[in-house]
């Protein structure tokens, strides 16, 4: 036994490095998709993922290191299932240079900001530009304004988020990982926008 013998084959299949195997995994009814979350530190990327994957919300600090990998499958109304393989990246500056490692080959990018933090909105725009330059062609991008429950502290208007998203061909939604508001909708909307593989 051993990975040693099978390693070269795997590498040839996974030319995209951190990409999941795209070959073989997908058919018309079962879609597998790599999704990456990007955004400033502290905007709630991990909270969104944990709410979506485990239905949990943990208010304590858990600064992501490098990137965490989680997956979650959802079923759509047309009986297709979509398995999201999610890379939840660290927002810290020292990891910025490593982001391509995680977004390379991603079919979906979710760019998150915090509606109470204009700086995080600026950072989101940086990520959008970076993805436009270096992301997979045809990548589906979502712009997410998180912490929508803190509307009394809001500093980024819905209007601003929406306009920026529209201009850049992105899907826009405001969420709250804390209250679970719009979290499932976010992933369902993404699933709906995925290109369906033609039955082979």
């Amino acid at each position: 036994m051993g990975c040693s013998s099978s390693l070269p084959d795997r590498n040839s299949v996974r030319s995209g490095g951190l990409n999941p195997e795209n070959g073989g995994g997908n058919d018309a009814k079962n879609i597998r998709v790599k999704l990456v979350l990007l955004g400033d530190s502290g905007v709630g990327k991990s909270c969104i993922v944990l709410r979506f994957v485990r239905g949990q919300f943990d208010p304590t600090s858990k600064v992501t290191i490098g990137a965490s990998f989680l997956s979650q499958t959802i079923a759509l109304q047309d009986s297709t299932t979509v398995k999201f393989e999610i890379w939840d990246t660290a927002g810290q500056e020292r990891y910025a240079a490593l982001a391509p490692l995680y977004y390379r080959g991603a079919a979906v990018a979710v760019v998150v900001y915090d509606i109470t933090s204009p700086e995080s909105f600026v950072k989101a725009q940086y990520w959008v530009k970076e993805l436009q330059k270096h992301g997979s062609p045809g990548i589906i991008m979502a712009l997410v304004g998180n912490k929508a429950d803190l509307h009394e502290k809001r500093e980024v208007s819905v209007q601003d988020g929406m306009e920026y998203a529209e201009k850049n061909g992105m899907f826009f939604i405001e969420t709250s990982a804390k209250t679970a508001d719009n979290i499932n909708q976010l992933f369902e909307e993404i699933a709906k926008r995925l290109p369906r593989p033609s039955p082979s």
Binding site: S41, C47, P59, K62, G66, F69, D149
Partner: protein, 636 residues
């Protein structure tokens, strides 16, 4: 002042070129320290004359005195009743009055404990907003994976131990006091750049200062900013003279400097830990920084001398506070050795076999650990892992909560392996305390490592390794009470670390000497370090050393003993026997091992020596359970 370029004994012959200006700097530092510690009561210090008595009275023995590798009773061993170390300062600290400048700190603690929906940072995303709350380091995960209220304000002498049960929301009386306790703290760590820019400080005030740039009044920040500048001035002044500052003594304080290229590390301490220990701690602190950023961070300073490094360390405060905490309880920090979780030989072999299998498939290091103890580890051919790197890596993994949430893939650097390059670490917790780290040089290897982990996990579950690990955690390691009576009469029925398990054969113990307290002949505790294995084993703490304070004091005594045994000026010593008010300590160093044993202060010397021989025999008898054997890629 000692200087690096010369051996310390030469210093007096090397007066500094401009004595006046360095003296001024020293005066400045002393004045600042005086103001820092002004709230410290005089009684907390011993008088100067009491310092260092232990060190001077060590006894060196000739190797011929050992017959057949046994430590025989030697009358030349000097007994000395040295002045006891100061005790339980921390008790005093608890009653200190609270300063009003503690507001921020107190608020920060409350943020973690209750969710108050009124402020943005307590919105329920408290920690999420990154550096601010992590900077104040409210919760710390110690190396046992237990969460502990942080003494970020740092009553270091009151450190809790690995054995301590986790008390949720545990607070120390001195903890909610920012400025006073900062001044009162026994030990401060600072990291600054050569241009004087703060990089890290383990201090609430400094953290507020450096990371929030906010003012909390009382002029403390000015004091500290001036302080940082003073430190920088001293280092630069001496460096310009082609020399290096190692140590400044200012009254009761030692100021220890470590210069690593553009990064200056400073420790200010009145804990009376030896210089070598404190310097070792600064080295580890630097290593932890390299683990996170690699040494190539130096290039940023080449491009821009005023480069601000703090954003690059964002969110890692808890890693450093956990490391600093471990300086107070983890013997690995001064022994430069790692410790294993006791396991049956076959169990450890089973774990090692699957890790080896994975290592053969292109994984550089495969490490399976439970808390800070190694279950098994394997390196690719010719790759060796330094114990200090293991300490820093396990500290990094255990203190970063996010690794517990899901599998992760993160760049890390092993400073002793290659300080310039990142490796990629796949980290996954197999249960609450047991985690697997797979290291690779390839940034693309995530899916391969994930597959490896799945295979490892399957094998570990099938071969019951994880169950055995849990059992070992519950049973603990070597207990001094279980020291076998007579090596000759060892029975074959022992199952766990030589403890007879059969109720019909209760262990005979040396109860005639100190009945019911510790082990035979007043043996309270021991640490055995195997020199080739780079591993150590420490006995579990038992009855006389039961409180955290006692454990802490014993830890410091070991630290001192270790340093005196390795003193390059007068040593290396072969044995040392010392008696003070608290303990009899016996240390024995051979080519193969170092034994540090602690006895009741009234213990009989002859008997103590006999017991040490027995301990060594016991360790040899159970070495395949307490050490990782046969994994010999650690040759450097």
């Amino acid at each position: 002042m000692l200087s690096d370029s010369n051996s310390s004994s030469d210093d007096d012959q090397n007066p500094k070129p401009d004595a006046t200006s360095i003296d001024q700097s020293l005066d400045a530092i002393e004045n600042q320290l005086a103001s820092i510690s002004m709230s410290q009561s005089v009684s907390e210090f011993e008088s100067e004359s009491e310092h260092g008595i232990h060190e001077e009275e060590t006894t060196e023995l000739n190797h011929q005195d050992f017959r057949n590798g046994s430590l025989s009773e030697i009358d030349q061993l000097s007994l000395h009743n040295s002045v006891p170390e100061e005790v339980s300062r921390s008790e005093k600290d608890v009653d200190e009055p609270k300063a009003s400048s503690s507001r921020l700190w107190t608020n920060a603690v409350e943020e973690e404990e209750v969710e108050a929906p009124s402020s943005p940072s307590s919105s329920g995303y408290a920690g999420e907003r990154g550096s601010s709350s992590s900077a104040s380091g409210i919760l710390e995960v110690n190396n046992d994976g237990e969460i502990d209220a942080v003494r970020n304000d740092g009553e270091f002498d009151e450190v809790s131990d690995s054995q301590a049960p986790w008390v949720p929301g545990k607070r120390h009386g001195d903890e909610d006091d920012a400025s006073i306790s900062w001044r009162k703290r026994k030990k401060h760590f600072f990291v600054l750049s050569h241009s004087g820019k703060p990089i890290y400080s383990r201090s609430v005030i400094a953290a507020q200062l450096f990371l929030f740039h906010c003012s909390i009044g009382y002029g403390d920040e000015h004091k500290l900013a001036g302080f940082s500048a003073t430190l920088q001035a001293i280092i630069s002044f001496v460096e310009n003279g082609g020399d290096r500052v190692k140590l400044v003594r200012a009254g009761k304080h030692q100021v220890i400097f470590l210069v690593k290229g553009p990064i200056y590390l400073v420790c200010i301490s009145c804990t009376e830990e030896p210089y070598e220990s404190l310097r070792g701690q600064l080295e580890l602190l630097y290593g932890q920084m390299i683990l996170i950023l690699t040494k190539s961070v130096n290039r940023c300073f080449e491009k821009n001398p005023k480069f601000d490094m703090t954003p690059l360390l964002g969110g890692t405060d808890v890693v450093f506070s956990s490391l600093i905490h471990s300086f107070g309880w983890n013997p690995a920090t001064f022994l430069h050795a790692y410790t294993c979780l006791p396991l049956a030989y076959a169990t450890r072999q089973a774990a090692g076999a699957i890790l080896q299998d994975v290592a053969d498939s292109g994984v550089l290091f495969a490490i399976l650990m439970c808390r800070h103890k190694v279950i098994s580890l394997v390196g690719a051919q010719k790759a060796s892992l330094h114990p200090d790197d293991m300490l820093l890596l396990s500290n990094f993994v255990m203190s970063s909560e996010s690794f517990r949430t899901s599998e992760s893939f993160s760049p890390i650097c092993l400073p002793r392996y290659n300080p310039m390059a990142f490796l990629y670490a796949y980290v996954h917790y197999l249960d609450v305390e047991t985690y697997l780290i797979l290291l690779t040089t390839s940034s693309d290897a995530f899916y391969h490592l994930k597959d490896c982990r799945i295979r490892i996990e399957t094998v570990l579950l099938k071969s019951n390794v994880l169950v055995e690990v849990q059992r070992s955690v519950v049973e603990g390691g070597m207990h001094v009470e279980d020291l076998p009576v007579d090596p000759a009469s060892r029975s074959g029925t022992v199952s766990h670390l030589g403890q007879p398990r059969i109720p019909t054969g209760p262990p005979e113990r040396f109860k005639e000497v100190f009945h019911g307290i510790g082990g035979p002949a007043g043996l309270w505790h021991f640490i055995y370090r195997s020199i080739y294995l780079d591993q150590y084993v420490a006995s579990e703490f038992s009855s006389p050393i039961s409180s955290l304070q006692q454990q802490k004091r014993l830890y410091r005594a070991y630290q001192k003993l270790y340093t005196s045994m390795h003193d390059k000026g007068v040593g290396p010593h072969k044995t040392q026997f010392r008696r003070d008010e608290n303990y009899v300590m016996l240390c024995w160093v051979t080519q193969d091992f170092e034994l540090y044993a602690t006895f009741d202060p009234l213990a009989d010397k002859a008997l103590a020596i006999k017991i040490c021989n027995r301990v060594c025999q016991w360790v040899k008898d159970v070495e395949n359970e307490i050490f990782l054997l046969g994994a010999s890629p650690f040759s450097w």
